[in-house]
Symmetry: C2
Subunit: 143 residues, 2 copies
Amino acid sequence: MAMDAAVSAQQQAWKLVLEVFLEQRSRMLSAAQEFGLAPQQAFAIVRLKVDEPTTMGELAQALRCDNSNVTGIADRLEAAGLAERRPHPSDRRVKTLVLTERGEAVRRGYQDRLGHAPPVFEAMSDEDAVALIEILDRAASAA
Amino acid sequence: MAMDAAVSAQQQAWKLVLEVFLEQRSRMLSAAQEFGLAPQQAFAIVRLKVDEPTTMGELAQALRCDNSNVTGIADRLEAAGLAERRPHPSDRRVKTLVLTERGEAVRRGYQDRLGHAPPVFEAMSDEDAVALIEILDRAASAA
DNA sequence: TATTGTTATACTCTATAACTATA
DNA sequence: TATAGTTATAGAGTATAACAATA
């Protein structure tokens, strides 16, 4: 019979981080629902601006999905009056998206509701936050 | 005009953690695809056992979705020959799921392919991993 | 009456491939 | 030829509500 190896400190640390993430995911889904946003619509809306057009391709990259999906997501945001498609000034193949005023209000409300970081992170002392950054930087260098 | 507040160390730390998570998510999706698993099927299969039956409700909780969704996920795992429904010994309303031998092989392959924690975490020194655990514990107490 | 799982419904998200209009 | 976005398609996941069987 195979014996499970003892759980390493690295695995324990990852498990804790995963819990934070799952909790944050749950908060994001609730907040999105409160503002009438489907999950990817919520992700999209925080990436969009009122005055700074985002191309469909850029949004696809930010959402880590295929360009073809962005068409539908943009359609739904447009149908809800939260975003608008605009032509690109120099390349007529490209379409860009900007938030409407209403979209900007929803974005602000959604982000305020959610805060900048999960509650556990916001409760962290400055010293611990800095230490965490250093730990992750060291690990990234070692990986 | 509103000025953006300077980005706090807490926000920076969260951003780094989020990057790790997105990278891990990407790895999970690739690995799942390699083993012919849809995303939730992959989550489900790591929660299931060969000899320890899991009820549909327990799986729904683990997947953080409604019970009704588990029906379809279990259907697809069963259709792929990876899991089987079994009656509950004492409550005839309850149905349980167990992995087939093939399901267990796929689960093992998938988990081996993925490792215990993201590469960045596995590259972490023992000292740093312990320090990270302590930081998160302190933050959880403060939150 | 309450609970477990299923079904029915409708919607969102997903990738792939074929298409269009540009470049 | 290559690229940006769209459409068509097929599948997967999602919540809600109604339902059957059982407790």
